[in-house]
């Protein structure tokens, strides 16, 4: 059972601040990490490996810092990593990322299952899994909350908007998981130390036969700002009874309670 887990390098969202004057995010010096739901996908692959023989390979596409960021995933139990690194791939659009992932995965060749998070923690667009499945001509099983593998058969429960769907598919397949599938492990210090020695293959665009100039540009981002928040931010600091009384008065004055 060999799994490939695709992960995305994202800024640590807890540490992103907003510049007040422009409402733009401050991304300089924000530490980079692997997406939260990606970690659930990796955890699931590592658990499968612990039950059955096989290996787990991380694949990721991004800018220069990727070699450092990926260590976290290696420490969580992946055996090796294949990285496509180019400054132009930092923040690249979904169609480009999916294409580069597909090229890297074709190079690896030997796999039974490709796992991803249902969406990245920053953009949460959820395109990569289905795009990758199409590029590799594989079946897709998305929004998985639990799965099991017997021989060549994957059985998965998908958590859809109005129902739980149990499906079966012959491997290989592309599987995207929900965060509720497991609790991702936090690697021990010894694992983190060992991670630096695990094999990493770093591919450039030219290794994949891609010229930087040919990278598609289908989506233009015109602006990216925090929404305007014009809140009164009034704190009622009295004791609980008085504070609640003032709150109720204020809500009535605003027409926020009563009246409907």
């Amino acid at each position: 059972m060999n799994s490939i887990v695709c992960v995305k390098q994202t800024p640590d969202l807890q540490q992103v601040r907003i510049r007040k004057e422009t409402r733009e995010p401050i991304l300089e010096n924000v530490p980079l990490t692997i997406g939260n739901i990606d970690k659930n996908a990796l955890e699931e692959a590592v658990r499968l490996k612990e039950k059955q023989e096989g290996k787990v390979t991380l694949v990721s596409v991004g800018g220069e810092d990727l070699e450092e960021t990926i260590k976290e995933g290696l420490a969580m139990g992946a055996d090796d990593a294949v990285l496509v690194v180019d400054p132009q791939l930092d923040g690249a659009e979904s169609a480009v990322v999916a294409e580069m992932l597909a090229k890297a995965i074709r190079k690896i060749g030997d796999y039974d299952m490709i796992l991803l998070g249902e969406g990245s923690s920053d953009n949460y667009s959820g395109q990569i899994g289905p795009r990758l499945a199409e590029l590799l001509d594989l079946p897709q099983v998305t929004f998985v909350r639990s799965l099991s593998v017997e021989g060549n058969l994957l059985r998965a429960t998908r958590n859809m908007d109005d129902c739980l769907e149990v499906v079966e598919v012959e491997l290989p397949a592309v599987v995207t998981v929900l965060s509720e599938i497991n609790e991702a492990r936090i690697p021990a210090v010894t694992q983190i130390l060992k991670a630096g020695r695990k094999p990493k293959e770093v591919l450039s665009l030219s290794d994949l036969g891609v010229s930087a100039a040919s990278l598609g540009k289908q989506v233009r981002t015109l602006s990216n700002k925090a929404p305007l928040q014009e809140r009164k931010q009034i704190m009622f600091k009295e004791d609980a009874d008085a504070a609640v009384a003032k709150l109720v008065l204020a809500l009535k004055a605003d027409g926020a309670v009563g009246g409907y």
Partner: protein, 317 residues
């Protein structure tokens, strides 16, 4: 002028897409065609016509393969229809089925894909789409440069197209499809909490500060007094299961715009806040005076939600 296809497994969302499509076609509804696949397509097609669809496209040959929603099969079908219609834009609902379809369809068509769209404006003759980014900390506005675009729109972003005397017609298209590779073994409907918190005028949102499911009855009482609904953060629904996922607010739950949101016992992470920050009035109640949620609030009280809730009920009655 661009030709627009709309498709959703959810007919009410499809009616919203009809409105969006008409707007994107500069008011010319004849440029918008609805694709109706799957069970009951004939009756559903008539319902779409009575919502003003100029054309409804259903499957002829191959329609038996559409009985269950298989994303790969549906993407193949819609791609074939888009090719025949020379469509330049395909709109779908941003549901889980919509999203699994959108990515695959976009890849088949060599198209750009923008998911989770919560507003569309037309600027200088092109459509500009707004969606949350950076986990909801920002809203980015994007435009598409590729000839074809697949766009998934959040439910309730547009009003449903209203009923009109039908003038459009249904067209049957033969499709070339292979049997689905993913087999549906069973489908269990969820324990039906049929509440739609996105429709509520008031939300009483609780987080882990609630302490336990036995405390819910008081919060539910407050929601009743306010004529609203109880909603919750992701951990309360998916980890603790104190409330159903239908009541989950945030990036992976519902995004709501009520008149009033009371946020109690929750820290206010942006992934949650994105679900309520468009509320008219926001109240925060938390034991930690430094909780982020106070930054989103019009009014705040530092205190235990259970204590404050009881006092609120008493004073509101």
């Amino acid at each position: 002028m661009s030709k627009i296809l709309i498709i959703s497994e959810n007919d009410n969302i499809a009616f919203e897409l009809l409105t969006a499509g008409k707007m994107l076609a500069d008011g010319d509804a004849t440029l918008v065609a609805a694709v109706v696949l799957g069970g009951g397509a004939e009756n559903r097609a008539n319902a779409y016509l009575s919502r003003g669809a100029a054309k409804v496209i259903t499957a002829g040959a191959g329609k038996e393969m559409m009985e269950t929603f298989d994303a790969e099969t549906y993407a193949t079908a819609v791609a074939q229809i888009a090719g025949k219609e020379r469509a330049t834009m395909i709109l779908t609902g941003c549901t889980r089925r919509g999203k699994e379809l959108a990515g695959r369809l976009a890849q088949k068509l060599g198209a750009a894909c923008i998911n989770d769209v919560k507003a569309i404006e037309c600027e200088g003759g092109e459509a500009v789409y707004s969606r949350n980014a950076l986990g909801g900390a920002t809203v980015c506005r994007q435009a598409v440069s590729s000839p074809v675009a697949v766009v998934s729109i959040m439910p309730s972003t547009f009003a449903q197209a209203s009923e009109v005397p039908p003038v459009g017609e249904t067209m049957v298209v033969d499709l070339e499809l292979k049997p689905a590779r993913v087999r549906l073994v069973e489908c269990q409907s969820k324990n039906t909490d049929s509440v739609d918190i996105a429709e509520a005028k008031t939300l009483v949102c609780v987080g882990m500060g609630l302490g336990g499911p036995e405390k819910l009855s008081v919060v539910e009482e407050l929601a009743r007094v306010l004529g609203g609904e109880v909603a919750c953060t992701k951990p309360v629904a998916t980890d603790q299961k104190w409330l159903s996922e239908a009541r989950m607010v945030g990036l992976s739950g519902k995004q709501c715009k009520p008149q009033l949101s009371l946020c109690m016992g929750l820290s206010g992470q942006v992934q949650f806040a994105v679900g309520i920050r468009d509320s008219k009035t926001i109240v925060a109640i938390n034991t930690d005076e430094n909780a982020t949620i106070f930054q989103y609030a019009d009014y705040g009280i530092v205190g235990d939600l259970n204590v404050i809730t009881e006092k609120l009920i008493a004073q509101l009655k």
